[in-house]
Amino acid sequence: MIRTLATLTLILATGTALAHGPTPQKVVQTVTIKAKPDAVWKIVGEFGGIAAWHPDVATVEATGGNAGGAVRKVTLKSGGTLVEGLDEWKGSERTYSYRMSDPDLTALPVSSYSAILTVDPDGDGSRVEWMGRFYRGDTGNEPPENLSDEAGREAMNRYLADGLKGLKARMEGGPTQ
């Protein structure tokens, strides 16, 4: 406990110097959904509407709609809040990109990330791809296990996979968990 506190204090004390490290990590999850791309996009394309389909999300406070610069504050059921800013939203291509710059390590053990969500046709249905780029929670050279690249990959993959599972359930009418 003392060690954890010491680590946490160190991270807080060094602040933004640690917020952007030099080793980015990839994450990608996809799902196929038995629904038309436009129908899926209507639900998933609302930047501020993530609480309607992501089972890990408790509440969202959103401002700015789907315009560049819009912000959503996503509070997770497990605790912590992700403040995400919308970069680009292209309805004609059913895709949007966004980023999180100020970390909340209780929400996700990563120091920053950006992500792109895209809905494409797949046969009669849709394929949703959610990909991202992130930096581990502690971008110093000797990160503790809970803030390592691997911990970040595991948490990000789980967060994206849970979301797409929830979206599929919502669109196909199954259970959300």
């Binding site: 952007h20 030099p22 980015p24 990839k26 560049g68 970069d87 680009e88 950006s114 780029r133 110093g140």
Partner: protein, 311 residues
């Protein structure tokens, strides 16, 4: 007459390529490889130490790679042999004097730039603003540093190894390109989604050009007429006209594009997410080819051919 001189210069250049150790290189961070890309698209990869992030080249065709996680800078000789220079730093940004006499290394978490002699000995260091990202050499004796958390570009006197000034830029300055013909510095600002254009001779900001989402890599054409900026979150490259200082075209490339380099009439863009390099024809502004490379391509560098005498 002018045409004749130009043609002659071109022939010399073309003749020099196949015989020399130069070329276009891309560094893959996860794949721990540096890949040489030929004009026709053929590739040759060399395995290096883990997690190289940035690549720079000198006029003799030597390559320099930074490994922030390993506290090491690698030097790859034109014959492919690799030397390792250990550093008490988190090396990221790199610039090399054309004759290779000095390498400048940004220490990301140490807020400084270190000058290394060819043998790896520390020749000096200069304090910078917070989180030095990419570096670029300007006119003789000047090195510019993108100070990512300082909204500034630091100006380093490379003789005194001292930060002698700075320019205020946008939010999150990361990548730099210098046009020696106009004495201009172009700065890609990741968070404010724009490019700051600086007249380094007059010491003033000429313009702030809105670019696409998260401009992350930047290069200027040899004639200085156009500037190419990768928009990381939009999967495209914006083309800025150096005269009007406005975006005149955008070119779709692969996902999460980062480094940009220009060789001849083509631009090369590292698509970090899809492990490819996009080739853009600068005449048509279309992607003509996508070349697979090792995982996690980030930076690119163009090395001129090694002079015969040094081979």
């Amino acid at each position: 007459m002018i045409g004749c001189v130009r043609l002659f210069g071109l022939l010399v250049l073309l003749a020099a390529w196949p015989a020399a150790g130069g070329g276009l290189f891309v560094v893959s961070q996860q794949g721990a490889k540096v890949t040489r890309i030929e004009v026709g698209g053929a590739t040759t990869a060399t395995l290096v130490a883990a997690a190289p992030a940035v690549v720079a080249a000198d006029a003799a065709g030597r390559l320099y790679l930074s490994h922030p996680d390993r506290r090491v800078v690698s030097v790859v000789a034109p014959d492919g042999s690799v030397r390792s220079l250990p550093l008490k730093a988190q090396p990221f940004g790199l610039a090399a004097e054309p004759d290779g006499s000095r390498i400048y290394v940004g220490d990301w978490s140490g807020n400084r730039v270190i000058a290394l002699a060819m043998d790896g000995a520390v020749a000096g260091e200069a304090a910078t603003g917070p989180d030095p990202a990419h570096l670029v050499l300007g006119p003789a004796g000047r090195l510019y540093v993108a100070e990512r958390e300082g909204r500034s570009v630091g100006v380093i006197d490379t003789v005194a190894m001292r930060r002698v000034g700075s320019f205020p830029v946008g939010d999150g300055p990361f990548a730099l390109a210098y046009d020696p013909a106009r004495g201009r510095l172009y700065v890609a600002n990741v968070r404010s989604n724009d490019v700051t254009v600086i007249d380094t001779q007059a010491g003033r900001i000429l313009a702030t050009v809105p670019a696409g989402a998260s401009p992350y890599g930047i290069a200027v054409t040899a004639d200085g007429a156009r500037v190419l900026v990768s928009d990381q979150h939009a999967g495209k490259v914006s083309v800025i006209d150096a005269k009007t200082l406005a975006v005149t075209a955008t070119v779709p490339v692969g996902p999460y594009p980062e480094g940009v380099a220009i060789r001849g009439g083509f631009a090369y863009v590292a698509n970090w997410f899809s492990d490819t390099v996009s080739v853009i024809d600068l005449a048509t502004l279309r992607e003509t080819r996508r070349i697979p490379v090792a995982e996690g391509p980030r930076g690119l560098a163009v090395a001129p051919g090694a002079p015969e005498a040094s081979r």
